[in-house]
């Protein structure tokens, strides 16, 4: 009898608990992500007016108690029709893709080293990776301005080594943007890679060696495919924010570094064209969603081979 009551209680608490555990974060996302998204979506269908806020409401009450809904699609046609915006999108995707690839190439050996390090060392290395989070992101990007400037230490060292005769332009170049991107997003690449590599059963590598596979080959035959989920997660965590990145191209990039984050900023604050800025944001979101869905499909397809 007592056991039955206990079982029911356990069942109830686990059910309620499970719902709460899932429900609370979803509720949070619903309120603080979905609602703002809907507001942005609404603005993207609106017109510019000289008012506060500088957009025309979509829903209006007409004279005879008629609810009028005006959906203005011209912002979207404008966005797709303008070469500047298309170029900004393409450029952002390219910069993000290259940065992601660089972060992966640098991050994988790092994560591998941490995952294979001995006990205490592993903790220290792990802490070092997360150390940048202790300082503001903005400050860290600003620091690069000082480092890369004409009178900065990077130029000084290069001149001291005799590699260059006079200071070279490092700031406001694509190089500086890539540097800033890789630097800022590297931890987001390393952490999921670390957990994937750390989970890898080392006996599998022994099995590969036992069957005649050299370590270098075993990396590609066993380690890489079995850490694929970490690679995908790391790439998404770097790629998605990198596409919409505003601060790094604004501070380190040159005037011709065209990235969608800056364009959205300019539309909002310089042109006060909220509807076009919102339309740009929605298009960006759609592009990224397509990427995520494609990746998920690839992943699901590999998991269940027919």
């Amino acid at each position: 009898m007592w056991n039955a009551i206990q079982a029911i209680r356990r069942r109830l608490t686990t059910q309620v608990g499970r719902k709460a555990v899932i429900g609370i974060p979803y509720g949070w996302l619903l309120i603080f992500f979905l609602v703002p998204f809907l507001i942005v979506l609404k603005i993207s269908f609106s017109n510019v007016v000289l008012a506060m806020p500088p957009v025309e409401p979509i829903l209006t009450w007409g004279r005879d108690q008629v609810l009028q809904i005006r959906v203005n699609l011209s912002n979207y046609t404008f966005v797709f029709g303008d070469r500047l915006y298309v170029a900004a999108f393409v450029n952002s995707l390219r910069v993000a893709a290259v940065s992601t690839l660089l972060a992966l190439l640098i991050g994988y050996p790092m994560a591998y080293g941490i995952a294979r390090a001995q006990g205490a060392w592993r903790n220290i290395l792990f802490l070092l990776v997360s150390l940048p989070f202790f300082t503001s992101f903005l400050l860290r990007v600003y620091a690069w301005i000082g480092l890369l400037g004409r009178g900065g230490p990077v130029n000084a060292i290069l001149m001291h080594l005799g590699l260059i005769q006079e200071p070279i332009q490092l700031l406001q170049t694509d190089f500086a943007v890539y540097l800033g991107m890789v630097y800022s997003y590297l931890p987001f690449m390393v952490l999921p890679l670390y957990s994937a590599i750390e989970k890898l059963d080392l006996t599998l590598l022994e099995a590969a060696a036992d069957l005649g596979c050299r370590p270098s080959k075993a990396f590609f035959a066993v380690t890489l495919p079995l850490t694929r989920e970490g690679i995908l997660a790391g790439c998404l965590l770097v790629f998605i924010p990198a596409v919409g990145e505003y601060v790094i191209p604004a501070l380190l990039g040159g005037p011709d570094t065209l990235m969608i984050g800056r364009v959205v900023w300019d539309e909002f604050f310089a042109n006060r064209d909220w509807p076009v800025a919102s339309a740009l944001a929605i298009v960006l979101l759609l592009i990224l969603s397509v990427f995520v869905l494609l990746l998920q499909k690839v992943q699901a397809g590999e998991e269940e081979p027919s």
């Binding site: 059963d201 006996t203 599998l204 022994e206 099995a207 590969a208 060696a209 036992d210 069957l211 005649g212 596979c213 050299r214 370590p215 080959k217 035959a221 066993v222 495919p225 079995l226 081979p305």
Partner: protein, 374 residues
């Protein structure tokens, strides 16, 4: 190290198939394997048996090439492989966890080793098919490991390790993860397969039943040393030490002192039994030597009436009865408090079994006990 090995390479041609020559392995200050020498013949099933931490797995890993001996040398088929990396050894291993590649199908797993050797895809496929048929897994080629049962995974692991026809197959607790019924079936299949392919097997296990049924010879290990090497019968019936007697099977151990030691019999005074144990052979030991008498429970008989024999007879109370189906285990408490384990086979269904609190005689033959050093 290489220098030393070329020097110690034996010149005589009668080299056993596998020779482990004074091998020691240290991890820091811990000696996992201590001066082990062992010869294994071609086509044998050799079993390394011992409790956890006895060094058996380290020895196996040195045969596979995952660990390099700190001292000593290992020869396989006359070739010094002491420092040869695992991927260049003619040795394959079946891992305790099976270590199947989870991202590959059964066929890809089995073909992996062949593909490393540059066997073409079509040839590899033929060999994989043949091997899978041998382990009764036809039609499972395109399954992934996670879609298989434990027994099926074990067969895939076996097929993968055997498909390259290694000179030596190492098996780390091969039946450890299977349930009892499956183990019994697999044991015999494993032996059949070994006979069919003629591959030399080295098995590591902590399970004495597994060792006894599989092995043609076995070596009992403790604290990095091999205590005894012999056939299962040798090890069971003639253990050379107290540890081996106690480790393999159940045993009653009685400490005693040698009082008479003639070529045709000896007497050992055992305080615990309250009698002089009569053994019908001499032990040629020092007089008054302190020894242990090891007596297997199934070698002791029980009777309600006093037996005809005078020697090796004790009386006590039945204090415990455990019916195991094929046999019954009795716990007998002698009048001086000593507990004696006795196992009797249940031959006759309608036997009137002894019950607890009955008064019984326990007796044994003069050739039943084994005398080992204390």
């Amino acid at each position: 190290m290489t220098q030393q090995m070329t020097e110690t390479k034996p010149s005589h041609s009668e080299m056993p198939y596998v020779r482990i020559d004074h091998v020691t392995k240290r991890f820091g200050s811990f000696e996992a394997v201590n001066q082990v020498s062992l010869d294994i013949e071609k086509g044998e099933i050799f079993c390394l048996l011992g409790g956890s931490g006895c060094g058996k797995t380290t020895l196996l890993r040195m045969l596979a090439g995952f660990e390099e001996p700190t001292e000593g040398a290992i020869y396989i088929d006359g070739v010094d492989v002491t420092s040869v990396p695992p991927y260049e050894r003619p040795v394959n291993m079946m891992f305790q966890s099976y270590a199947l590649f989870p991202h590959m199908t059964v066929a890809q797993n089995v073909a992996f080793g062949l593909r490393q050797d540059g066997v073409s895809k079509s040839d590899a496929l033929l060999k994989v098919r043949e091997m899978l048929a041998m382990v009764q897994l036809e039609g499972y080629e395109s399954r992934k490991p996670h879609q298989l049962s434990g027994g099926q995974r074990q067969r895939v692991a076996l097929a993968r390790a055997l498909v390259k026809r290694p000179k030596l197959l190492l098996l780390d607790e091969p039946l450890g993860a299977l349930d009892k019924k499956l183990r019994e079936r697999t044991q015999f299949e494993l032996v059949n397969l070994q006979e069919k392919l003629g591959v030399t097997f080295v098995i590591v296990t902590h399970d004495q039943e597994e060792a006894m049924t599989l092995a043609s010879r076995l070596g009992v290990m403790q604290s990095g040393k091999i205590l005894q090497v012999g056939s299962p019968t040798d090890i069971y019936e003639f253990p050379n030490s107290r540890y081996v007697a106690d480790f393999i099977g159940s045993v009653n151990l009685f400490d005693g002192q040698l009082t008479v030691d003639e070529p045709d019999h000896c007497l050992i005074h055992c305080e615990a039994l309250g009698l002089e144990v009569h053994i019908d052979h001499g032990v040629s030991s020092a007089p008054d030597a302190l020894v242990t008498v090891a007596l297997r429970p199934e070698k002791i008989r029980l009777s309600r009436e006093q037996p005809a024999q005078v020697e090796n007879c004790v009386q006590g109370w039945v204090t415990g009865v455990a019916y195991l189906g094929d046999s019954t285990r009795f716990l007998i408490q002698l009048d001086n408090g000593t507990q004696v384990q006795v196992t009797r086979p249940n031959i006759d269904r309608h036997d009137e079994h002894l019950a607890a609190d009955e008064r019984v005689w326990a007796f044994w033959e003069g050739n039943s006990p084994v005398v080992v050093a204390r």
